[in-house]
């Protein structure tokens, strides 16, 4: 683990290497932001995690909220009492928070409020690659887009100022390649946090009943006009390169970096307008830039967000300029992330220039390498309790059952050989989709989701199942942490983001409180017992909940290492008949085949004992480490 104390370094002007997300965290500390709320999600997680590590020492308040909407609401309350706040989330988190955000835009804020949303072009760790900049257009909130860690910090500070000047929340939109890029960052002065707020009654502004909302909508549109002036004057919107060829490029975010390098690669004499404040756009600046070029090329990742607006400006103010991008003719891909190569290819095609490199030769040589190269997709870890849970579910539910799944490590259970997972949309969707599937197919329906996801989004769905008497079984895969995003605490862990203890919220009691009659808990590694519990659950006339509880193996391994407990790996004895049942059923990375024989990889084995319990010949031996 990197030493996060660098975030508290009280030495302005020092240049340090920071991850984009750490740079935002440093920006929080330099801006005097005093309330930070978040729900973890890649690629945004390290913002909250970094602040959590230093919050009590720095004197600010941070929390892992149950979901992104709650996170926004908590901050909206504090910001309306004049305290500076920030909420961090991944792109799809903004969908969860959208209900709050859309109307908070009407209400506005008194203390500066920044909403960070981290997009994930290429879906490295996400279920979609939506372009969250459209939320800026949709909600009328200002939006800043950093291209590197230094800007990520600078824009966090600027966002607070813009927010206070306009009385509006400000979106800070990053992408994976901004949040998860390390680069040099020059530190500024740390600011004193100020956690003390006051609620000043202002009912017309703050209570959005229809009469007030009509008024505040108008006020919001006035604020947007003022924001346009800020955008025209913003130092984040600027021409970074002048060119004489009549070709101009407009770009933002990580795409700007590729554009700059592609221009160098092609040796183009092109001008570049870099946009850092991308809502509202500086229309006058864009008009002026359009006027100075014959061809203007918009280089951006994902949707043609800038292109749409640049074309609208061009139509009104510079109709003779040709604008290129991905709309009329797609010169750049609209899906996936860009690269210097894809940008260079698009530019070369538009300008009619030959690429200076033989990518075709490289591609064919590389295709030859990839042809017979085995894949190495992400998999459940050796000793992961989800593997045991999925084995039990498949054993009880078989091929006949339906298995709607959810967002978390357990989505990896969809891959062979476990093959558990039939439908996956978003956080908490498994319990909802299960009810639709069960109602129209009559199949046994086993929904799975994790402990953190349960608190995040499953409860209304579970109440719905009780209310409408849906015959579904919800299996909560409780590994006592938010594993996939880096082991953040959640309401069931009894720990807070401040590092203090709190009341553990019991999943079983919540389920019972929702009205579920059959609620049971089992250890999935105890295959027989767990199978019996699940079987009984499927026989219930209405909804049932089974909690499969066993800690994330990464946590257990860490804990054993700390306590000095030695793991004795399991062994394959000579009773083994090479039937490959363990390999076929489990896909555990600690089970390897060497010269046709199954062996246990001693370095990887965590002594969970699952393989021993599936071996039909009792040929795998060892003692399970709890």
């Amino acid at each position: 683990m990197p030493d996060l104390r660098v975030l508290l370094l009280d030495s302005a002007k020092k240049r340090v290497l920071l991850l984009g997300n750490e740079a935002i965290a440093r920006g929080i500390l330099e801006a005097g932001i005093s309330v930070v709320t978040t729900y973890p999600g890649t690629p945004a997680s390290e913002i909250g995690d970094s602040i959590s590590a230093v919050a009590s020492e720095a004197g600010l308040y941070m929390e892992y909220s149950t979901n992104e909407m709650v996170a926004v609401e908590v901050a909206a309350g504090a910001a309306n009492c004049g305290v500076r706040c920030l909420t961090a989330m991944k792109h799809v988190g903004l969908n969860v928070a959208a209900d709050a955000v859309m109307t908070l835009a009407y209400v506005g804020v008194r203390g500066g409020y920044v909403i960070v949303t981290a997009d994930d072009p290429e879906c490295y760790s996400s279920q979609n690659e939506q372009d969250s900049r459209f939320y800026a257009l949709f909600s009328n909130l200002p939006c800043l887009e950093p291209s590197d860690p230094q800007e990520a910090k600078d824009m966090t500070l600027a966002a607070v100022e813009i927010s206070e000047e306009l009385g509006l929340p400000v979106l800070l939109r990053t992408t994976t390649r901004v949040s998860h890029t390390r680069g040099p960052v020059v530190l500024g002065e740390l600011a004193e946090p100020n956690l003390k707020g006051d609620l000043i009654r202002d009912v017309k502004r703050m209570v959005m009943v229809p009469a007030h909302a009509r008024l505040m909508h108008e006020r919001l549109l006035e604020k947007v006009e003022k924001a346009k002036e800020l955008s025209e004057a913003s130092s984040f919107n600027m021409v970074t390169r002048e060119g004489k060829s009549g070709v101009g490029i407009i770009s933002s975010s990580g795409a700007y970096n590729y554009a700059v390098e592609a221009v160098e690669l092609l040796g183009l004499d092109a001008g570049i307008l870099k946009l850092g404040m991308t809502h509202p756009l500086p229309e006058k600046m864009i008009t002026e830039f359009l006027g100075r070029h014959k061809k203007v090329i918009v280089v951006e990742e994902l949707e043609p967000y800038l292109e749409l607006q640049v074309k609208a400006v061009a139509k009104d103010y510079a109709p003779n300029v040709e604008v290129y991008g991905k709309m009329a003719r797609p010169y750049f891909p609209r899906k996936g992330e860009l690269s210097t190569r894809s940008v260079a290819q698009g530019l070369a095609e538009i300008i009619g220039k030959k690429l200076p490199l033989d990518f075709a030769g490289l591609d064919s040589a590389f295709a030859d390498i990839m042809k017979d190269l085995p894949a190495r997709p992400p998999i459940l870890c050796a000793g992961c309790p989800h593997r045991a849970s999925f084995f039990v579910m498949k054993k009880v539910g078989g091929e006949a059952a339906a298995y709607p799944t959810d967002i978390g490590c357990y989505a990896l259970g969809t891959a062979p050989p476990l093959c558990v997972g039939d439908l996956l949309i978003c956080m908490g969707s498994s319990i909802g989709t299960a009810q639709g599937i069960s109602r129209v197919t009559g199949r046994n329906t086993i929904a799975t989701l994790g402990d953190s996801t349960f608190f995040h989004a499953a409860i209304p769905g579970l109440v719905n199942a009780v209310y409408n008497n849906a015959k579904v079984t919800l299996v909560v895969l409780d590994n006592t942490t938010t594993a996939m995003t880096g082991h953040q605490p959640h309401p069931g862990t009894g720990m807070t983001g401040m590092g203090t203890r709190s009341e553990k919220v019991s999943i079983e009691r919540v389920a019972e409180g929702c009205g579920v009659k059959y609620v049971r808990t089992a250890d999935p590694f105890k295959v027989k017992e767990a199978s019996a519990v699940l079987k009984k659950a499927l026989q219930q006339p209405g909804p049932s909940v089974v909690v499969f509880r066993a800690p994330c193996v990464l946590l257990s391994v860490r804990e054993r290492r700390r306590q000095g407990i030695k793991v004795m790996p399991f062994k394959v004895t000579d009773k083994c008949t090479d039937c490959m049942t363990c390999i076929r059923l489990l896909g555990c990375p600690a089970l390897v085949v060497v010269d046709g024989k199954v062996r246990v990889d001693e370095a990887l084995c965590t002594a969970c004992g699952l393989c021993a319990s599936v071996c039909p010949y009792g040929a795998i031996e060892g003692r399970r480490l709890e």
């Binding site: 890649t42 390390r182 970096n257 040589a365 390498i369 085995p374 190495r376 992400p378 490590c409 390999i583």
Partner: protein, 201 residues
């Protein structure tokens, strides 16, 4: 200064990201401009991991252009192959030969290619191949977990690598867990020494 690009490729758990952070931190110590790219979260779980380190005044993008790696640092043979698109004649491929078979191999009853086959495939891109027994040297240094430090030591030998060896060592001491500094320093030195003998140009 011209740019210097390193592609680090391995399997989740091998310490690829920490190695990249050490190299990036060292570059900052030498007052150089640098970008380090990482992939976190789901993409990491036991899967293939790639990180890039780019050093140079004009560097802006965190990722490396195809064919433009100065060093391809392979923590594992198959992962080295998987990233050969970054290699060209000028690329030094520094590779740990210890195999980590993907689970797909066992499931589909496929064979892991021999080291000779791997070497042949690499040689279609570049002749500059250096095999560093990182796990073995790390064990000699005191812990197999220090294999990433061995490989960082190996990179530091490359003549055109623009960062001072002392800066890399300093960054390594700062970033590895405090309890394991000694074996990591030893691992670094063993990696450095092993490649130094081969006189990398």
């Amino acid at each position: 200064m011209k740019e210097f690009n390193i592609v680090l490729a391995g399997v989740g758990g091998q310490g690829v990201l920490l190695a990249a952070e050490i190299l990036g931190t060292a570059a900052v110590k030498d007052e150089l401009n640098v970008r380090v790219s990482e992939i976190h979260g789901m993409a990491q779980r036991g899967g293939a991991v790639v990180s890039t380190v780019r050093i140079g005044d004009a560097v802006r993008a965190p990722t490396v252009l195809d064919g433009h790696a100065d060093v391809l640092l392979g923590f594992e043979p198959l992962e080295t192959l998987r990233n050969l698109k970054y290699a060209s004649r000028k690329t030094h491929v520094i590779m740990n030969p210890e195999k980590i078979p993907p689970t797909e191999l066992a499931a589909k009853n496929l064979k892991y290619p021999s080291l000779e086959e791997v070497r042949q495939k690499i040689s279609r891109f570049t002749g500059k191949i250096i095999v560093v027994h990182a796990v073995q040297l790390a064990k000699e240094a005191g812990s197999s977990l220090a294999q990433n430090s061995v490989l960082v030591g190996a990179v530091a030998v490359v003549a055109s690598f623009p960062v001072k060896v002392e800066s890399v060592l300093e960054a390594l001491k700062e970033l590895v867990p405090a309890r394991h500094v000694e074996e990591n320093v030893r691992a670094f030195q063993l990696g450095y020494g092993a490649v130094k003998k081969e006189r990398v140009g």
